[in-house]
């Protein structure tokens, strides 16, 4: 699965997510990605999220919209992402990852698996990582 979230100079947010799905899935199996609120969600009043991981688990907790609910309650993009991923892991034993932004341009790339390839660009700086805890930067 691949995905992206963005905030433009007018403060509009958007998300996009695309996937081949799960390895050796049954024919006709559809996961979280095309389900609004699960594979992605975007609302200028709250923020935008793109998710990746075990689709059947993501759908059970409606992961993308759950993160934005936490943000509506005042949590930061990072805390909201971590809270929702932790709930998915504890409630249904699912692993996953998210990229999240709010309309002010705060962003987070968080995951409960061991790895997620991610990158972010803001103020002419490129941020990126792969393993838990990695956060490298370079000038764009």
């Amino acid at each position: 699965t691949v995905g992206a979230v963005a905030v433009d100079s007018e403060g509009n947010v958007a998300c996009a997510t695309s996937t081949g799905g799960m390895l050796n899935k049954m024919e006709g199996r559809v996961g979280d990605t095309p389900c609004i609120g699960c594979g992605g969600y975007a609302d200028n009043q709250v923020g935008a999220v793109s998710t990746t991981g075990h689709g059947e688990a993501i759908m059970k907790v409606v992961l993308a919209r759950l993160i934005l609910f936490h943000m509506e309650q005042g949590q930061s993009v990072e805390a909201a992402s971590d809270l929702a991923l932790a709930y998915m892991k504890s409630r249904v034993g699912g692993l996953g990852g998210v990229v999240t932004v709010d309309p002010q341009g705060q962003w987070a790339a968080r995951f409960s698996s061991l790895q997620m390839a991610w990158a972010a660009a803001q103020k002419d700086t490129l941020h990126y990582g792969l393993y838990t805890g990695e956060h490298f930067t370079q000038s764009i």
Binding site: T1, V2, G3, A4, V5, A6, V7, S9, E10, N12, A14, C15, A16, T17, S18, T19, G20, G21, M22, L23, N24, K25, M26, E27, G28, R29, V30, T33, P34, C35, I36, G39, A42, A48, S50, T52, G53, H54, K89, G96, G97, V99, T100, P103, G105, W107, A108, S112, S113, Q115, M116, A117, W118, A119, A120, A121, Q122, L126, Y128, T132
Partner: protein, 166 residues
Amino acid sequence: MFPVVVVHGGAGHIPKERSENSTSGVRSATRAGYTILQRGGSSMDAVVEAVTQLENNPSFNAGCGSVLNIKGEVEMDAIVMDGKTLGSGAVSAVRNIANPIQLARLVMDKTGHACLTAEGANQFARSMGVPEVPLESLITDYSRMRWKKNLAPDANPVECQMGKMG
């Protein structure tokens, strides 16, 4: 207001020999999305461009490089959502399409529906002039190897794909 674009290439198990391609792929896609924002483009244009680049990169499970279903075929899903209007478009179980994310955006822009699936999504693609591509062009040696490896009766495809907990 600082424009920002954040990209992921998928959570789960990434073998060491593929990690460099994964990291460089997401960095390149992020630059492409950021260039659109810097030129005053919309957040929707930025995310669709970034994801299109990753669909075209065989290192990622989307578009070319997608994992195979139990029959050894490729069925893909995609979604876009616009925070200004709450408009959304998605396709599911779509076949023989190089960039499902662009088809999802057409569903949002050209139909009154939220999602089109399977043959309906392919018919819509034809009506929009989106070219169909051969199945073989979406399959890589790596995806075929993982498909064969996980046909074994005792295989665990979810754990193979997701890896261990972080």
